[in-house]
C-alpha cells in the first residue's frame, strides 16, 4: 500500500478479490456489491461455480456484454449492463429480497467505510449535513445474508483506520460482518474479538495493528 510509512507491500485490489473468492464455497449463491467486491467474479477458484444474485431481480447474472450488445433492460444493482448465464431467472423485487431476508443467499461481499470490532458495518452514509442519504439494499443484505464479507483498503486515503472500536459513521447493520479482506490482512470477526487469519506478503502483524483502530489477536496457524 502507498502513503503509509514503512509499508511497501500488501495485496492489490485484484489480490484482495482473489483472496475473498477463495473463502466462498463451491455452489454458493453470491451477491456482490459495487466496486472491488464485483471483481470477485473474475477470480473464482478453478473447479468452483458461484451463482450470482443481483437484487434488482436476476439470479444467474453473467459478465458485462460486449460493446454494442448492451440491453438497457438487463442491468445489475449498480445499473450497469450485464448478461445472463444458462439457468438464470428473473423475478420481482419482493421475491428478490425474500431470497435475501429469507436466508437463501449464502454469501454477500460488500465494501465498507468502517467496520467495528463487533462486526458493525458502516457503508452507506457519511452522515454529513448536506449529504443526500441513499441506502439502497445494503441494510436488507446485511440483515438477511449469513456470511457478510467485506473487502476494503485497511485505511482511508488519508491513512485513518477503517477497522475501529466503534463506527463513527451511520450504521448499515450491527454485528453483521463475518470476515474482512484488506490489502494488509484477512481478519475474522469473532465473539472473542478481531482475529488476524492471514497477513499479506511482506506485511507484519505489528504493521497491521498500527493501522487498525481496535485490538487484534493473531491466530497461530
Amino acid at each position: 500500500m502507498k502513503g503509509v510509512a514503512g509499508m511497501a507491500t500488501g495485496w492489490s485490489r485484484e489480490q484482495m478479490a482473489t483472496r475473498a473468492a477463495q473463502d466462498i464455497p463451491d455452489g454458493s449463491y453470491v451477491n456482490l456489491g459495487i466496486g472491488i467486491p464485483e471483481m470477485v467474479a473474475q477470480f473464482v477458484p478453478r473447479g468452483r461455480v458461484f451463482v450470482y444474485h443481483t437484487e434488482n431481480g436476476l439470479l444467474g447474472m453473467g459478465p458485462a456484454p460486449s460493446a454494442g450488445a448492451e440491453d438497457p433492460e438487463l442491468i445489475n444493482a449498480g445499473k450497469a449492463p450485464v448478461t445472463t448465464v444458462p439457468g438464470a431467472s428473473f423475478f420481482h423485487h419482493a421475491d428478490s429480497f425474500a431470497m435475501i431476508r429469507g436466508g437463501h443467499i449464502d454469501v454477500c461481499v460488500l465494501g465498507a467505510m468502517q467496520v467495528s470490532a463487533r462486526g458493525d458495518l458502516a457503508n452507506w452514509s457519511t452522515g454529513a449535513a448536506d449529504a443526500i442519504p441513499a441506502v439502497g439494499g445494503a441494510m436488507d443484505l446485511v440483515a438477511g445474508v449469513d456470511s457478510i464479507f467485506v473487502i476494503t483498503t485497511h485505511v482511508t486515503k488519508t491513512g485513518e483506520p477503517k477497522i475501529v472500536e466503534e463506527c463513527s459513521y451511520p450504521l448499515t447493520g450491527r454485528g453483521v460482518v463475518s470476515r474482512i479482506f484488506t490489502d494488509l490482512a484477512v481478519v475474522d470477526v469473532t465473539p472473542r474479538g478481531l482475529e488476524v487469519l492471514e497477513l499479506a506478503p511482506g506485511v507484519s502483524f505489528e504493521e497491521v495493528c498500527e493501522n487498525t483502530g481496535a485490538p487484534l489477536r493473531r491466530l497461530d496457524r
Binding site: 433492460e73 428473473f90 420481482h92 423485487h93 429480497f97 435475501i100 441513499a134 440483515a143 451511520p170 450491527r174
Partner: protein, 236 residues
C-alpha cells in the same frame, strides 16, 4: 370482452389529480414508464407523492417530473443518481420531502399494500438511524422492526406484453417493482410495448394477472433514458 386499452398516454394518465400518491415502476431506467411520466408532465399535475426506487436520471422521465416541481414528497431507497442534480437541489433547498426506505423494505411494503397486510416485521435497519421511532419486537431472540404497508392512488408501470384485459409479461430486469405496484394502487396504468388479444399469452406465463390492471396504452417504441441523456435531451 373486457378491453382496458386506451389510445394515448395522455388519456391513460388523465384521471391523476393534484395531491395523488403515485407509484412509478422502474429500477434506474429499466422498467421506467417514461411515456406515461412525460404525459403526466404535460398534464402538469402537482403536489404528488411519488414512490420509486430512485429519483431519476438526467432531465428526462422521473427526474424531469421532480425538476418540474410536481413532486412534493419522494418515497425511495436510493435518491442518488448519475447525471442528475434535480432532486439533490430541491432536497437541499427544502423544497421536496424525502422518506428513505431500505430497498427490500420498500418492495415488501408495496407488496403488503397490494396484499391487504397492514404491517409486518423485518430485520432490515435494526440498530440503524432508520429504525428511529419504529416499533420493535423480538422473535426467537432476534429484534425486528414493524413496517407499514404502502398503497397508492395510481401506479404507472411499464411492461413488455399485455393482452386487452391487462394480463402482463415483463422484459428481463425491467420487471423489478412492476408486479408489486400493479397490486398496490387503486388505479394501475400500464404502458405495454405490445398489446395482444386475450388468450395469446400462455396463462402459465402471465406475471401480473389482469385483476391488478385498470388501463393499458401501447407504446411500441419506448424511449430509453440513457440514450436521451447521451443525446443531451431534456423534457419537456
Amino acid at each position: 370482452m373486457i378491453d382496458k386499452t386506451v389510445d394515448t398516454p395522455a388519456e391513460a394518465v388523465s384521471s391523476i389529480v393534484e395531491g395523488s400518491v403515485v407509484m412509478i415502476g422502474g429500477f434506474g431506467e429499466a422498467g421506467s414508464p417514461i411515456e406515461l411520466i412525460h404525459a403526466l408532465i404535460d398534464q402538469g399535475t402537482r403536489n404528488l407523492t411519488a414512490i420509486n426506487n430512485n429519483t431519476g436520471n438526467g432531465e428526462v422521465g422521473l427526474a424531469a417530473l421532480i425538476g418540474n416541481g410536481q413532486v412534493s414528497k419522494m418515497i425511495c431507497s436510493y435518491p442518488r443518481s448519475s447525471h442528475s442534480k434535480l432532486f439533490p437541489e430541491l432536497y437541499r433547498a427544502g423544497k421536496i420531502e424525502l422518506e428513505l426506505v431500505p430497498q427490500g423494505t420498500l418492495a415488501e411494503r408495496i407488496r403488503a399494500g397490494g396484499a391487504g397486510i397492514p404491517a409486518f416485521y423485518t430485520p432490515a435497519a435494526v440498530g440503524t438511524s432508520l429504525a428511529e421511532g419504529k416499533e420493535k419486537r423480538e422473535f426467537d431472540g432476534r429484534e425486528y422492526l414493524l413496517e407499514h404497508w404502502l398503497k397508492a392512488d395510481f401506479a404507472l408501470v411499464k411492461c413488455e406484453t399485455s393482452d386487452r384485459m391487462g394480463n402482463l409479461t415483463y422484459n428481463k430486469t425491467a420487471r423489478n417493482f412492476g408486479p408489486l405496484m400493479c397490486m398496490a394502487a387503486r388505479t394501475t396504468i400500464v404502458q405495454a410495448r405490445v398489446i395482444v388479444e386475450p388468450g395469446e399469452i400462455d396463462p402459465e406465463h402471465v406475471v401480473t394477472p389482469c385483476v391488478f390492471v385498470d388501463r393499458i396504452v401501447e407504446v411500441s417504441e419506448p424511449l430509453h433514458e440513457s440514450r436521451l441523456i447521451a443525446e443531451g435531451r431534456r423534457y419537456p
